[in-house]
């Protein structure tokens, strides 16, 4: 058994020195806000007032007894779940299609990645314009070709609003799935398909046992990252609907923003973010358990 001093001697101190600035930045930019938020969640922290008192669990009580919190929580789950499924299906389908295109696949890849390159503000205003019921392209087109009797307002009609914002999010996020899945598809050795063909495997069997088996690790990681990003997404939804109409698109980040910046109750907003953290940690644990199982199966 090696002693601690032996272990210490084996540590590459120059290497540690090189990573020190990055570690410091991580500590300053990530760790500090987390601990300050946990601290604020137990206080009366106000956006403007300087006096801070301990309120312990009062902020959590306020949040958990507020009906708007549950509306926002339900909307967040719906928003994340539908967006993730849509982005995965569209991204997967386009990646499979691009993988089969022998020529110009690079051109199509660039074309399809364009939505990802736009800032949220541009996306929000463009889609708001497209779906505007007075001068927007889409409602006027649908009326002109006789599909609707009068212009629909996609962001004001309770039957359409959620589906419309999810559609925009799928349009925005599926290129990321496409690019990553396509890269994973390119790494599958063609010999495996040839061997499966020789053994009489059907197209479905090849797809399930070779294609899916090879790329599920990438898909799993993408699901973890996108779940966190979409659940925490604020800008796109806020810029398009502001959480409305009638709170139909209000998610937890918008709720936290309204409480923190609108009502100026940063302590309460911090409590919401702490609850958000605990929930997402639980989801991530589930995903990681699944990924670990896949890794074990592959060994």
């Amino acid at each position: 058994m090696r002693t601690i001093s032996e272990k210490y001697k084996k540590i590459n101190k120059t290497g540690l020195l090189f990573i020190l600035p990055a570690v410091l930045i991580v500590v300053l930019l990530l760790i500090y806000p987390i601990f300050s938020s946990i601290y604020f969640s137990f206080t009366s922290k106000h956006l403007i007032k300087t006096r801070i008192d301990w309120v312990w669990l009062d902020n959590f009580k306020f949040v958990l007894t507020n009906p708007d919190f549950y509306v926002a929580f339900y909307n967040s789950i719906k928003w994340t779940g539908l967006s993730i499924v849509g982005q995965l299906l569209i991204g997967f389908a386009t990646a499979l299609a691009l993988n089969k295109i022998p020529k110009y696949s690079g051109f199509f890849r660039i074309l399809l990645i364009i939505p990802w390159a736009f800032p949220a503000i541009v996306i929000a205003f463009t889609w708001k314009w497209i779906f505007n019921d007075v001068y927007g392209f889409m409602p006027n087109l649908l009326t002109a070709i006789g599909m609707t009797n009068q212009n629909i307002n996609f962001f004001a009609d309770p039957n359409f609003v959620f589906g419309t914002v999810v559609f925009i999010n799928i349009w925005f996020g599926s290129p990321l799935f496409m690019v990553n899945i396509l890269s994973a598809l390119k790494t599958i050795p063609s010999e495996q398909y040839e061997a499966a063909f020789m053994d009489g495997a059907s197209a479905w069997q090849s797809f399930w046992s070779i294609t899916i088996r090879h790329i599920r690790g990438v898909i799993g990681l993408l699901l973890v990252l996108r779940t966190i990003w979409i659940f925490n997404n604020f800008d796109l939804l806020y810029l398009i609907t502001g959480g409305g109409p009638s709170n139909l698109t209000m998610t937890l980040p918008i709720f936290a923003f309204k409480v923190g910046w609108g009502m100026k109750q940063l302590g309460v907003a911090s409590a919401i973010t702490v609850i958000l953290l605990l929930f997402l940690l639980g989801i991530c644990l589930l995903f990681f358990k699944l990924l670990t199982k896949w890794e074990r199966d592959d060994r």
């Binding site: 806000p33 987390i34 938020s37 300087t50 212009n151 009609d157 009502m263 940063l266 644990l285």
Partner: protein
Amino acid sequence: MKRKLALILIACMMFSVTACSTGTETKSDSGTATEVPSKDKELNGEIVLWHSFTQGPRNEFMKEAADSFMKAHPNVKVTIETFAWSEFYTKWTTGLQSGQVPDVSTALPNHVVEMLDADAIIPINDVIDNIGRDRFYEAPLKEGTVDDNNYSIPLYSHAQVMWYRKDLLAKAGLEVPKTWDELFEASKKINNPEDVYGLSVPMGLGDLLATRFLNFYVRSAGETLITEDGKANLTSKAAIDGINYWVKMYKEVSPKGSLNFKTLDQSTLFYQGKTAFDFNSGFHIGGVETNSPALLDQIDAAPIPKINAGDETQGIETSNIPMVVWKQSKHPEIAKAFVESLYEKEKYIKFLHSVPAGMLPAMKDIAEDPEFLNNPTIQKFSAAVKVISEAVDKGTAIGMEYKPSIEAGIITSQSVIEEMFQNIVLKNESVESAAKVAEKKLDDLFKLAQ
């Protein structure tokens, strides 16, 4: 181990998105004593000016004003930082926590109340006295006054009036509506979707337009949205009638998308000639001129309608945009001298002319000065300017009918009334119960802010 580390890092990542917004805690400076600027004393130092005039001519004016001030005071440096109103609030609230506020700035009346509540600004009675207290209209001065101390000085004023399309009214053989019922009938007659709508009734969250529209109705009935003792007042007869009126207008003559409309969406429709009526200030002239110059000859303004034509004229909504001097300023004497310099007659009129008819004088003598009135836009829209000027004189900010109050800021910033309208329209909630719920929600927010 690696997996655990990855999990911790991911947790850090996702949390930091929302956590970063909570900022840091810094106790505000205890403040600087008020100092009367003396004309004999040589000013020396550097000040920072924040303003929200992002548009060309007004922005240019502020630069010129700072340059001329620095020329007159060679030992002074004025640094200008410009923010749109939407960013301005975030900027000063977060700045206050970290000590990063300017020496002098523009503000909105609701902001002034919050600045006072946060003990962030200082009295500027001396500046007002130096310019001439009697020259100012009384109501705008009152908005920033607490215990005889003036914490803000009005820079310009504008008021909400009804804008209409003369050509559409003439085509329909209609007179300019004087009552709410006449407005409804006229809007209904002109309404011809999707070519032109009678009137857009905006209810978008994150803006105050539905609150503003309801306030028009409630004020015209002599009522207020906030009572004298600082309670929300959405269940009065006037408020219930007003809510019913705007819901009826929305259903009959408004584009359905106006449920989500904010200021830009609302104004854009009028600029594009898609609505026959709209409510706004003199800034509408510039908007139409820029977007649809051909429509400029077809628009005019009239007073906000009344319940009955013979009713007494009530003050509705006036916005007085003031300047404030910050407590954390190291050179309040320079900040005050700079503010005073903006009111020199020639400079001040030049400033007002940068948005002619949009920005009206906060001083009575300037409002009647031929030099101010001698402007092509002001002359072309002289009738509209008269209507706006009369409205300016009588109105107040929404919710400040009795006194400057923190509640007024809450009622216009929390979208509670907008949400109430959306619930009535989308969820078919009864007007009475939706009003009751919204009133309680506002009262809870008022208590939370204490």
